[in-house]
Point group: D2
Chain length 409, copies 4
């Protein structure tokens, strides 16, 4: 685990967070600040390992952070909540409090879609709530204005947009969004388009790379891919592979490679926090469940025998901790039935934060190299990777390492 110092010549990067005051964003920001002050090490950062450490990636301790959110609760408070839950000591938050507040001051009011506006508007930016009815073109212009302002704060103007906002309600995607021209006509006509997709459009149209770490639609639309290729902008997504699905895509290939027939894979996820509260709503949950299940079914192959279930239960007392209990029954030689169970108890935010930092480094690097469109070599980071059909974690990881070795030459 040798960590090679980042090349001095690497240009700085600005990280523009959508959902900048949520738990993951707070961990990203606290982590960047603590890397800068030397209070933590690079554990959890994939790009701190060989062969990535040999690439001229941006220095994460030097990230300039800003963004948008619809909520008003300060990051410092969220960070203290996470500390009280035991993710890290509140002492770390106290030490970085002033720096956190400085980032917080750079966060503007985000956008809602009508179906995603919560019934009770407490703790939400007044401006965000009022924006929920704005025409798409107006919203794109507003986002681009915020991006242009943020870009000026970064020497060299290199920025990356990362979507970490709450999962949106799953909605059908019109077929015409496959083409950029038709999609832009829909924009002009004031069609209802998910905020995550408007953000993606706004960033990419402005030549800024975009990462979707959530299950929301974002750039998973043919029109956006077309735009990205036209503008020579890379993007990546979607739905960060942090916990149970990571373990699934690690264990699944074992059964496949040993020719053991999985009969049942039942996963029960329990989580609290904002993410849990959002996912309690079946409309929000649908997208997440589909991604978690799809990754596994792709690996194991569809058989009559295979029964799978993905449950997500909101358990308020868990806060940002997530516990997943999975039960796997499989059939071996001579018809013998056997089981594997696992319990994963982790913080999704603490797992997600370093991956977000990795993605910013790798997407920025790809942008500098002139890569465009969905970056399939980043599949290892996602439950539902764009630009790749691979869901086997080790094959994904191998693709990523091969990319790094090739790029390092």
């Amino acid at each position: 685990m040798t960590e090679i110092a980042d090349a001095a010549a690497t240009p700085p990067v600005g990280l523009f967070l959508i959902g900048a005051r949520g738990s993951v964003s707070t961990c990203v920001t606290l982590g960047v600040l603590a890397l800068r002050s030397g209070r933590i090490d690079r554990t959890g950062l994939v790009t701190a390992r060989a062969p990535f450490a040999a690439l001229p990636l941006a220095d994460p301790g030097a990230f300039h952070i800003g963004g948008l959110d619809v909520r008003t609760r300060p990051m410092r408070e969220t960070a203290l909540d996470l500390g009280r839950l035991g993710l890290f000591s509140t002492e770390l938050v106290t030490a970085e409090a002033a720096a956190l507040d400085a980032v917080d001051a750079r966060v503007g009011a985000g956008h809602f879609d009508q179906p995603d506006v919560p019934s009770r508007a407490d703790g939400f930016e007044r401006e965000s709530v009022s924006k929920a009815g704005m025409a798409p073109r107006e919203r794109i212009a507003a986002v681009q204005a915020a991006l242009a302002k943020f870009r000026k704060e970064v020497a060299g103007g290199r920025i990356v947009v990362v979507n970490l906002a709450s999962t949106e309600v799953a909605r059908p995607v019109p077929d015409e969004w496959k083409s950029l021209a038709a999609f832009e006509r829909a924009l002009d006509a004031g069609a209802t388009i998910p905020a995550s997709t408007l953000y993606a459009y706004a960033a990419i149209a402005a030549g800024i790379p975009y990462v979707n770490f959530t299950p929301s639609l974002g750039a998973k639309v043919g029109a956006i891919e077309e735009l990205a290729r036209a503008r020579r902008v890379p993007h990546a997504g979607c739905d960060g592979k942090t916990g149970e699905t990571l373990v699934k895509t690690v264990l699944g290939p074992m059964f496949r490679d040993r020719n053991l027939r999985v009969l049942a894979w039942e996963g029960f996820n329990m989580l609290g926090g904002g993410d849990g509260a959002t996912l309690e709503d079946p409309a929000h949950k649908a997208g997440k469940v589909a991604n978690k299940d799809e990754a596994l079914r792709k690996l194991l192959g569809e058989t009559q025998e295979l029964h799978t279930h993905v449950g997500i239960e909101y358990v308020p007392s868990l806060g940002d901790w997530k516990t997943a209990m999975d039960f796997i029954q499989f059939r071996g030689f001579l018809g013998t039935r056997m089981t594997l169970q696992f319990t994963w108890s982790a913080s999704d935010s603490a797992l997600a934060a370093p991956l977000v930092i990795d993605l910013v480094r790798l997407v920025d690097f790809a942008h500098r190299r002139g890569e465009a469109g969905a970056l399939g070599h980043l599949a290892a980071f996602f439950k539902s990777p764009l630009g790749s059909n691979e869901t086997d974690f080790y094959r994904q990881n191998q693709l990523l390492e091969e990319y790094a070795r090739a790029a390092a030459r």
Copy 2:
């Protein structure tokens, strides 16, 4: 999971089992018979999958089985015991009873080493007990005579020896066994040499491939490797990777690749049956524990922080079932401490049997292709692979698949 029919031209293979009446051997034999009669499918056989299915491997349903054992309890009885424990229905045993008895009739008296002779000699072949004091050269000659006899029963004379006998007491290996000449002088001088190594020598010297599926010494001696290369005979080992260690070498790389620091990996294995009873003795247990721990430590890298433990507890009521409970604590970004636990409840015999069949097919194939010495491409099958330093299951598996694809051309 396409299964391609075995090429009609593939020559038949004889499988000579050391420890032919144990649980694994019983499952191998019952499995071969049930494949032949069509009562079971090829689930659990790695070589039934692409790309192996494209190779002209021997037909497992046509294996001719024989061997040696020190115990007298008939395979049919052992098979019924396993059926009563729920591995498979006793109806299957009843259906194959006559065929099982026919194999049993071909099993001769095996050899003991003095330190491995159990205090109570009930249920042991009288001849085996008397052999415990024989000179090594005499024992080799006796084994070779049995092999020569068995070879004649197989059209074409292709046979493979597989060691499935109880784990021997771990003993220091004299440095001089690194060279064949010195080892043969020791043989001549009547030195004390583990039975597993004598079997390996006897087989390989006779030009017969040898597989060591146990943690016993077997061919893990420089002299035997030298012999194998000289005689152009392949061999493989050691210690089949069937259960907890398989899961360890599947999960370990996930922590490594995500740059998560493992702080503790505590594994508690519970098993009954003959294997459990043998391993209850600390002298027998030592070798197994070392292999299980080494595989993991190689993967994760030695760090000050890493604490590992491998416990093996004999729980008589489990019979042939084995339950392993592992607890893993790891540290992520921001110092967050998280855990993964798993419980693996499986039958080692049912998991081992198809791998033994796979190994026979692949070692015989390598022999026909003229390969010699330790077959490193078979690392995926072993806890402590000979001819390879790789313990990461997916990298091992990739090596194996690459071999198959190359050989299929």
Copy 3:
């Protein structure tokens, strides 16, 4: 665990099973036969323990068994299926096959309610399906005729009816069923009344004790309690406490008595078999979930902080095995958050069968002693006990033991 011989003078008992061909009934029947032939011991029978062993309870090996079912699949086939799943050896089934067939021959066609008739009528008694539309008084008369016939087969005429049929769809219970007179008017008027309640009425009106081991309505109606008291007939129910709920009502009091605040108790039940298939339907599941949750909430006390969840997932490959995974988070002194998880892997049928036998013995004994109405001292056997508010397993058990000691004097 002294087992005192059953008093020779104890009169024999006939056991009339509703749902006589289901898994639980098959285990009850196979168990009674195997006790009779001495092939099994009394493990699992509560009444084999002191202080119950001192009571003149009926000899379970001498039970005469009959009943009704809507399905046609023979008990012998069901027993073989259970044996193949590993509950017990198929050899035991083969040994008792003729005796099982003899019981099967005494099973008549059961009754359906219209909402409980499955869409596909394969494997169902033709007569049962046609009965689904019969008027309640006719159905009662038909049941009573079957009971009268069965009674004649038992010397002394002592019989007990036990409901082991599939869980019915949960339906609202009209308020007027609280009174016997009003309920009987509803009967006369041809009202729609669940089959389980009609069976209870038919038995109790005929002076025959009734046990409801399922979550179906059965005798949980004021009118039936009134009838039972008037006719001096005892009854017991409902919903046998065999697995996860048993563990819940054993562990729950620990948290209460240690003043530890339970924050979350999330239970995930996975089961296959007929019970699982029935419970997959939300309408059938509702009653079961309510009973499981209610038992726990009564124990722990309702607090703002407490979150509970009871999930039931149908996992076909599990067959009659049931795995429950429970996750409990609790808060202790100084606000420390801690967890307990458990996994219960058991066969509900094998756990239920001896309790059914216990109940028959104890209800028959109570009948002989002149007890009438819901037997509250049997609360330990049920998730939702009639005649008692106690859900703490140890308090329930203490009540039962005190009853036995008082009755033994």
Copy 4:
């Protein structure tokens, strides 16, 4: 869970801790201070529940705390360590820092026995190390002087001594210690007597109640019981029942009462912290393992079939957290084999602290009531209760509640 205000008239109590700077003592002290300042509630205190709340027990928030220790690391530091591990927020420690320091200033140098002196004496009170060779009568005098001084600080002079020091090496207990006279002759002769027993003698001879919360010998000696009865002083012990053993004595009766035969109960305990480090030494571990196993075997009854194992593994990274994984296999009706597994993840210190407070309140109350000798009604608090043979948690708890109800009259 009504909490009745403590009777105003209840006299204050001084709590004299042996091992006053360890993790449990630190949690006791922090807890008392936080109860006083209203920063925590009474969760975890058994005596906060009915029927104990009705007794005139001393106010825990008013406890005056002092004691002895052989270590010098300040309680404030230990408390911060526990906070950083996530037991509670470090903010709580900061808020109570001055009050913790004030208690710390009252802690004197404790005593070692020669076999218990650690090889490296860093962080140990110089005085304690020098005391390791003192004659028993001198040590008793020194302890009594410290107690007399402490007593003067408490209005009314009511104090209780609680042993929370590290587990001592298990040593054979001479038969003559059964009688007080012989024991006192041994004292006079300068015999080697464990520190825990000298502390017990010193306290009880001075008329001060003594509680042994550790597995060390303490008052588990006939001579001390004789002394306690003669001086009319109550005492209680030994080995607090906080975690895995609590769960064992809660679940064990379920199997017993359902007549299910336990075949295997394998418990694997993992813990870090000072307790873990001490228990890593087999000599210290022996006593603990014996208590944990004995409690279970008493419950289940000794049978040929029962296999039990208690493993304790020191896992440094766990710190004060303890994870126990238990695997239970049992046999039911029809010979069906089933399993229950549980994982208990808790802080022993956070579980122990409120029980220590409960014991001080109840032992002081008993002293005021004139009770003497081992208090059997406190069995629920201990793994190896003195004055009672009951190990079933619910029966123990019932005894305790009955005592409280009788005393409240």
